[in-house]
Amino acid sequence: MLTYIIRRILATMPVMAVVALFVFSLLYIAPGDPAAVIAGDQATPADVERIRQSLGLDRPFLVRFGEWVWQILHADLGTSIFTNLPVAAMIAQRIEPTLSLMAVTLVFSVSIAVPIGVVAAWKADSILDRAIMAFAVLGFSVPVFVIGYVLAYVFALKLDWLPVQGYTPLSEGLWPWLKNLIMPAVALGCIYVALIARITRAAMLEVLQQDYIRTARAKGMGQTTILFIHALKNAAVPIATVIGIGIAHLIGGAVVTETVFAIPGVGRLTVDAILRRDYPVIQGIVLLFSFLYVFINLLVDLLYTVLDPRIRY
């Protein structure tokens, strides 16, 4: 098991290297650079050139890439061009809201999607099944920001139950923290619910055909026990896989949600950085996201051993 973990961690290196090279090259060929934005309207082209030189943006590709890789290996993500703060510090400031949003969304989605997927599989091909699946697909189809705006209008402006925007850190209390996250999590979670419900139903369908389920039923086991304890555990592997792969979509969706609900998270930071051409920040965040994605998928793979003892590394 340990060798498996180590092998997997080593295997992430080339992936991260690919990501790093890709992102860096992308930014290198990008037209438009921060020097012009920084210099402002009153600057002359000579001013812009001076700023560009002072930021080191006029040096060749390999030099800049090499320098960045060297920094990474020393756990230094560089300094933002615009704010002059270390990228790592900027990310650390804003990681809590994003992680909170993702965690709450995950909990919400899984706790809704898995049960309805199970029920849909149990009552396969019935009206209930089709209704549930149609409902799930609907969650897939309406854009995140539309759901967000509608929720904000109804629950914040009209009913005044929840705040429209913002983020309260966990340190200020559980309920205030949750209050700010409920609507964003629901808006973001709709897609996830659809994905997970679908895969749960499909995996459960397959499991429910198995002989041992028929045996359990014949033995007189209660329906709930069969469904949730025997069948679900066996169906868990593909469900966990989808949850892992879906993290990438969750991160992407968080970008929009953070804009609509003014949550000061990493998603918004990334979009702002991209539009401003703040290269160090963009590079640092994309690298971090990939790492997060790879790490979570590693966790999912390790989770398989818990869910299915037949899988062993």
């Binding site: 690919v18 699946m133 609907l138 189809s141 854009p143 979509h249 991160i251 929009v256 991209i274 994309v286």
Partner: protein, 314 residues
Amino acid sequence: MTATSHPRASDVTVDPSAPPGIAVASDLPDILPAVKPRGGLAGFIWRYPAIAIGSALLLAMLLIAVFAPWIGTVDPTALAPARRTREPSAAFWFGTDMLGRDIYSRVLYGTRVSLTVGFAVATLASLAGLAIGLVSGFIRWADGFIMRVMDGLMSIPPILLAIALMALTRGSVGNVITAITIAEIPRVSRLVRSVVLSLREQPYVDAAVAAGTRTPMIILRHILPNTVAPMTVQATYVCASAMVIEAILSFIGAGTPPTIPSWGNIMAEGRALWQVKPYIVFFPAIFLSVTVLAVNLLGDGLRDALDPRMVKRL
């Protein structure tokens, strides 16, 4: 014999010409009620509702896209700031936007853009993913490398990748298609690769290789037919995803240029006003949701109909 009535012994008639003691098959009544499969279109809809509804809606959208100039009322790009932000009325069925353009016509024309983006991305991503997946599945030394690259691409959130690519180039439909395609290729290539890997071990493929069949023939004869079904289903999901990503790109401000009406554009322009003039966001949102729903339903239906075992891979 009606399906609902129960057979009775008195219903049995015996053919006198038959040898005694033997009942000819035609004499025997059907003990079980006949399940008459409903024929024709009604039957198809009953058996595959998802495919039916999905394709019907999609067909409607396609017709709208093709006939937009005729069903539309005015030129969708005609500006008239004097009559901006008017509510829906008899003259402007969906109202006007911030520059006085007719939203109804813009939404109709927007169908073209969204469908184009969706289909183009689905096709291109499928073709590219097919090529990469085949190469990866067959050429072992390339497999590791290619899959690492694909993993790397997949680990970057698709929206961020698309925004970054759009920020590199100017806004145009072509660039939007390219950006989203690049983000979607990894999924398709993984799928094709897994099909190839599992098929490579099949006895009949082994036999073909042993018989000296060249690789292109093997691909054509054995692999491709097996990839068609899962790839078609995957293509529909890619199409739906592409349409939503295009809307989100426009929402962020990195999507199709404003000279071309697209649902994402219309929503992005109207988003600041959604509390006072909700119709600007509302109508394109409905069209987008219906179209994406249609494509998703189609995908689900196809998947269920073609091969339930595909589900685990998708």
